[in-house]
Each structure stands twice: as structure tokens, then as C-alpha cells.
Amino acid sequence: MTATDSAELVSIPALLARNVREFGDKAAYREKEFGIWQSWTWSEAVEQIEALALGLLSLGANRGDHIAIAGRNRPYLYWSMLAAQSIGAVPVPIYQDAVGDEIAYVLDHCNARFIVAGDQEQVDKILDIRADLKNLEHIIYLDARGLRKYDHSILSQFHKLQDAGRAAKATLGPELVARQAGQNYDDICVMLYTSGTTGRPKGVVLSNRNVIETSKNSSQFDNLGPNEEVLAYLPMAWVGDYTFSMGQALWTGFCVNCPESPETMMTDLREIGPTYYFAPPRVFENQLTNVMIRMEDAGRLKQWMFHKSMAHAKTVGPALLSGLPVSFMDRVKYWLGDKFIYGPLKNTLGLSRVRVGYTAGEAIGPELFDFYRSLGINLKQLYGQTEATVYVTIQPDGEVRADTVGVPAPGVEVRIGDNGEIYYRSPGVFVEYYNNPESTASTKDKEGWVATGDAGFFEEDSGHLRIIDRAKDVGKMADGRLFAPKYVENKLKFFPNILEAVVFGNDREFCTAFINIDLNAVGNWAERNNIAYGGYQELSQHPEVLDMIQAHIEETNLSIADDSMLSGCQVNRFLVLHKELDADDGEMTRTRKVRRRIVEEKFSDLITGLYDGSERVATTTEVTYEDGRKGSISATLELRDAAIVAVQRMAAE
């Protein structure tokens, strides 16, 4: 990229035009459909985008209109965003698994006039709430299946709209060119709704400057080039996907690959072999759990080789990756391990070609993180927010650790407030929360510093940022000891059998925990041990499962006791929940972060039980099914005590 070149690249249409010029014949998008990877070059993609843009113009879309996009990751939907941007409208991707009233809130809040929906499921959800959406004019759908009989007065098929656009090129073409050209660096690029761990989602408005500057800086930081391959499988409404699959892809010209369906993600990952990969800790956790489950079914020789090699990898793998000195014999052993174990394993995981991998969104367990690093996968952490267009801090190659999130990203300034809260300022800082000046003012001050809501500190020797917890979640226990629930939960969640944990203890005498078992891992264990069960609920209350979880908690307590500051966070009592925490029930966000307050309210009877010493509690919980219907489940839960390291307690007293 030359300097003059980048000076002109101030809008999305400008980037698209540049990519056609420079990488016209190179694959830009791929999607597996009908068992084959279909691909589009940058030139072909731009033709598709322009046809849709013309189609939108023919429907009367104006500059500044909000155009919502709902569906799974598909090239057509990325093109919809790009088409919206081509005509100066603002794309608003929404979470495809959001239920009716969540979508209603977002669509109503942004006054969306047009919606591009992936399939019948999305169209149905929108039609259900149509009465509440006064501004909605037209729904454009992609997959026609099941929609034939629908009233088409406000519905259009994606490809038909494109055809209409192509047909109208003579009349609308000049308007499109004018719209593409008339965009500057400070125009709105996209609006992304935050998942909202608390309260209603907020529409984060990002400008071209935010997106393009951030993409430029971060691409340079990791030397991303036009030959990278990424797999786009994370929700399109999430800022990470927007930055990786749109911002950086447009900036560098790399290829975005869309899986065939969510279920085929792992197979597709293997087939593509991405060079640049992003996943939240949960995905890495699932992958590791699957590997471990399958290893337990392997023969004894294979198990022995696996464990022997992994033990060696753990000792020298991270050091090799960071370029630290490693003895010759260890290198030879690692080389052998790579031939027999690590290489094939990485291949199975689809991570053979990963040059740069990131995890973010949640803290990652150190053991989990080291597992991937020791295989030789350059997995790094970054810390970011929608409001920052992702990047706040990032780990440079060779300075990667599990317990920190790295140094400020290029162009980002970070400072720590008096209360320990982290603040940042960068070219990526959002413009505003849409139609919400109060929240904008309370988050971003006049000088452009943004409050993250997270508490943390810079390590003195390394200069790396360490996050403790959400600023509002870090609390004190009744006797004044520090209470950091996430720290404990992350330790618990590293056990493959534990999917989710919620720890309580603020203003209390001791800490307690709710546990969700991982149905995959525990189910497999049950199968091998001939334990019959009828479903999640039954398995979760099996005495042997409770024993197993108890052992995990006691092991965690042992390791927490080592940390003098946090030793009060040992879990004294626990229970295994009778249902999985779920976004449909409001217990988690769509990005699967636990909504602590809601869990606390919803299961207050169980928490009371944990603190009053009861051994059993009978409870009934309302659940929401995927189609929005409600039901309830009842269960009697066993509450157990876990052993804690008593020395620490005495020391505290």
C-alpha cells in the first residue's frame, strides 16, 4: 500500500474499487454449498454488490437509512452490508438467534426501513413483530424455501432484487456512482448493537475512520496480507466478525470463507485451513473437550503417545513459539512429537496453517491457552470492545502469556482510573450510541477517553495489561477479602466436564457456585461407565456426577489457595444446575456471557439454600423454547459442601 493510495481509501466503496483494481481475479469470498466450495473473485463480488445496491436504490433507499441484516454468515449477507454502504446507507447486522422482542427492540430503535433476512426463520420472526415496526418497508430474503406462499407485497427475493437492479442500471447507475463517491472518512460506516450484559442493547455507531484506521493498524501489526484465509463463522452482528471479515478483509484483500452450515463448521475449518483464525475461548474449549473425549476412546498405545508428547510439548512448545532458547535434545523430541502427534492433531483441528490466531471476548483458562500454544499454534489474546472497534490491547508475537492481554494496540492509549477501571482513547473509538446521548456521555468523555467497565492494572515489569474482572463485579466479601468471581469461574471452566460456572460471594461469609456440566463430556463419561440417563437434568443430578464435580471444585480450591490475594474465593458449597444457562431465557447474552444479576434473581431460592446450609432444595424454573413458547421444569437439587484449604482461612481470621 503506497501512501497516496491509502490517502484515497476513506470509504468502503473506495476500498472495494481498490480491491477490484489490485486483486480483481483473486478469490474474495467462498461459501460451501451443495458440497462444493463456490467462490467469487473481488471483481465478481463487486458486480454482485453493485447489482444489489442498484436494487436497493430502486426500492428507494436513501443515504443514512438503516438496513438491517439477519442471518448466518453467508457471502450474500456480507454483500448486503457492502451494498448498503455503497449507497451511503448504514448496515445494522443483528444476531440471527435473537428472539422476537429482542429483534423488535433493535429494529424499532434504529428505524430500519429495509431488512435482508437469511431464510424463512428470520422472515417469520420479522413478520411476527411487523405491527410494531412502523418504518419497515421491505424485507429482502435469501433462501426462498417455504416462502413461496407468503404475501410478497413487502417481500423480495435477493437475486430477483439484484436482477431488478441490473435492469435499472441505465437509470440508477449515475446515482450509485454519486453515492459511492460522496462518502468521506467521518461518515457512518456501520452500526453494531452491543450484546448488553446489562440492560437493553445499545447501537454503537462506527465511522469509516474507526473501521478503516483500525483495520489498517491491526493488519500491519500482524502482517496480514492478501493471501490470508479466514473462516467467517462468528455472528455477523459482533464487532469482531465485522472487523475481521469486513474491515481487515477489505483493507488487505484477503479471502473470507463461509461454512456450509453451523453444524459443518469443524469440517469446513479443516477444508479451508485458515491462516488467520479467531475464536472465543468457548470454541477452543469445545475443541479441546472433543479431542480429550476422543483420546479416551483411543487405544492404549495411542493414549500413551498422546500424553507423553503433550507433556513434552507443554514444557518446551510455548518457549519454542516465543523464540526462547531450547536445548537441542528437546528440539529433537519436539520435532518427533510434531511428526507423530502435534501435526496430525493440528490438522484434525483445522489449525495446521494458522499463522496468527486470536482469542478474546472472555478470559481464557491458562491451561487451555497453553495447550494450543504448546502445539505450536500462534494463539494470542487481545482485549477489546465494540466501542473501540475491537482493539484496546493486543499481544505482540513473542510476548504471549495466558494471564495478561498484552500491550496497547497500535494507535491506542490506555490509562487506569483511580478505581482501577481501564480507560482508552484511539482512532477506533466509536462515534456515539445511536439516539442515546446520556449513555454516550457517561461512557466517552470530552477528550475521547472511553470507560471500559473492566478493572485491571499494568504489570510493572512487562508493561502488559492484566484484567481482573468487570469493575462492578469485583467486590468484597463480608470480612473484607477480595472477591473476583470470574477468576474462579475461569478456573472451573477449564475442566472439560464443566461448561459454565457462576460464583457468588459478594458481601457474604464464603463463596458458593452454580455449575453447568458439559453434556458432551459428561455424557461420554456416563456412556463409558454404563450410567443411564434421560437427559441433561437427570445426568446433572447423578450422585457420581456430583462427586466428580466436587473433586474438580476441590482441586480448584487448592490452586486458588496459592494466590494470597484471592484465597477467600474458594468455593465452600456448590450445586449443579438442573438446566443449562441459555440466552433464550435471558441468563446469558447472545455471545454467551453469563448475566450474573439475572441468574442471581432467577435462582434466588437456590442461593438462599446454599447459604442456609440446606442439603436439598426443590425448585421450578421457567424456560423458553427456541420458538418462543414457554414451559417450566422442576427439580430437587442436592447442595454439597466442598473441602477448602483450611490454612488460608485460619490465616484470614
Binding site: E33, F34, G35, I36, R145, G146, R148, K149, E260, S261, E263, T264, T267
Partner: protein
């Protein structure tokens, strides 16, 4: 011949055409046992036609008559305006009739893809040498047919198990694979023998949606046997009710529901 050639449009906007298949006074005996006694009914083009009845009513036998597996001792089967002579099942299949089975009949050791590919058998006619060495026509045919199959896999949302051996699949998915195989044959008339037996509520809902979508998307005429009354009432246009080999009711779900003979058959009234 077509008795009621006029087509009409249903309340939900589908076009139901003239009579596609007509059963006239069918009687089927196994030795001394009379499985079907003098039954007549028709299946119109584009409709979803259900055959219901208590256990042992003769529903599956009826389906087997339609599919050509049984040849009735008395009565006539008319298909597309012509009287059908007694046929072998594969001849019936070539006429555009495909079916699924009450007890899943898949090739357990083969992958889903291969199983569904077998549904295309009637659409391949490359010679044995071409097949053996996989060149020319055989290769071309496989590519063409694979595309059809892939569209079916996509339609029924089973791409993720494309390469999985059928024996490793849960029951609900096997049923869907069977439907996929039948659908791959590109049938005019699809016969489903208890497509939802043994399924949980969610699987039943999925299957109902697939059946409706198949009918809607490809205009396939569907005749199905089903025990779950609520499903039958929801998705079918017309229902034939059988009991002890006799037809005791025929009409729209609403008609049938209020038919006293049907209520008796289901609630259990002493038979003479």
C-alpha cells in the same frame, strides 16, 4: 379416467390438480385373512393425502398396493389416467413413485451420501464398462446426479452428516435420510409410511415442516400414513380413515374429525 379434472386452490394458496392416482374397489387377501376390503379412494395432484386408522387397519398394506409391492386380488389401480397392470416395485418406481419405510430400510454401512445417491438409480444408465472404469458417461452422470443429491441434502439440512455412516446416526436423522433418498428419485408421488413414528415433539415438528416444504417447493404429491392425529390434521389436505380393512371415512381433516365412525374406531367400540 380423471373423474374430477378441475383443479382448485386451497385456503393456503396451493393448487390441487386433478386425480393422479385412483384406487378402485381394492381387495387384498393373504390366504384367508382379508387385509383390505373393497376400498376406493383417489389421490389428487399436489395434495397431501393421509391414510389413518388404528393398528392392523390395513394402512401399510394399502401403501404397499400403491407402491406395487402387493398386487390386489380384486380392484383396479389407475395412475395418471391409465389402468396400471400388476407391476414389480422397480417398475412402479420408474413411474415416479418413491417411498419411505415404517422400519427404516437404509444401507447401514454406507454413508448418507451414498444412501441418497441410490435414490438416483433410475436416473443413471451408463453402461457397465463405463461404470467400472468411471470414465465418460458414468463420470458425467455421477456429477449431475451428485448435484441433485446435494440439493436434497441442503434442503433437508443434513449436509453435516454427508459422510457419516448411517449406522452411527440417531433414529430421527435416519428417518430424514430415508426421506432424502426418496426425494432424490425426484418422485411425482411420494409415499411416507409413518414418517414420524418414534420421534420426539421437536423431531416431529421438523419432519412436518420438511413434508410441507417438499410439497410446496417441488409440488410433490404426498400420501402418508401416520399415527399422530394432531400431525395428520395439521398437514394433510384430505384423510382416508381405515379400520379392519374397510374405509370408514374420507374427507378433509375437519370432516373426518367429526365423523362418528372414525371417533368410534379410535375410542374403541365393540365390533360385530
Amino acid at each position: 379416467m380423471f373423474d374430477q379434472p378441475e383443479s382448485f386452490v386451497t385456503a393456503d394458496g396451493r393448487t390441487i390438480g386433478g386425480v393422479m392416482m385412483e384406487m378402485k374397489n381394492i381387495t387384498l387377501r393373504f390366504g384367508g385373512v382379508v387385509a383390505i376390503k373393497d376400498i376406493s379412494f383417489d389421490i389428487r395432484e399436489g395434495e397431501i393425502r393421509a391414510i389413518i386408522g388404528p393398528n392392523g387397519a390395513g394402512k401399510s398394506s394399502m401403501l404397499n398396493v400403491i407402491s406395487g409391492f402387493y398386487n390386489p386380488q380384486d380392484g383396479e389401480v389407475w395412475y395418471k389416467g391409465e389402468r396400471r397392470p400388476s407391476m414389480k416395485p422397480f417398475e412402479v418406481a420408474r413411474q415416479g413413485i418413491a417411498r419411505t419405510f415404517q422400519n427404516i430400510a437404509l444401507f447401514e454401512g454406507m454413508s448418507v451420501l451414498d444412501n441418497v445417491m441410490t435414490g438416483r438409480l433410475n436416473h443413471m444408465n451408463a453402461g457397465i464398462m463405463s461404470q467400472a472404469f468411471w470414465y465418460g458417461k458414468a463420470q458425467r452422470e455421477e456429477t449431475e446426479n451428485r448435484e441433485v443429491v446435494e440439493r436434497v441434502l441442503d434442503f433437508l439440512e443434513i449436509q453435516h452428516i454427508r459422510k457419516t455412516p448411517v449406522s452411527r446416526l440417531p433414529y430421527g436423522l435416519k428417518k430424514r435420510v430415508e426421506l432424502a433418498r426418496a426425494l432424490a428419485a425426484d418422485p411425482k408421488l411420494l409415499l411416507l409410511d409413518e414418517p414420524m413414528a418414534g420421534m420426539n415433539v421437536e423431531e416431529k415438528e421438523d419432519m412436518s415442516r420438511f413434508i410441507l416444504d417438499v410439497n410446496d417447493e417441488f409440488g410433490t404429491t404426498i400420501a402418508l400414513i401416520e399415527h399422530d392425529m394432531s400431525v395428520v390434521m395439521d398437514i394433510s389436505d384430505r384423510v382416508v380413515v381405515m379400520d379392519y380393512g374397510k374405509k370408514i371415512g374420507d374427507g378433509t381433516p375437519t370432516d373426518v374429525r367429526s365423523n362418528q365412525a372414525v371417533i368410534d374406531a379410535y375410542l374403541g367400540v365393540a365390533h360385530d
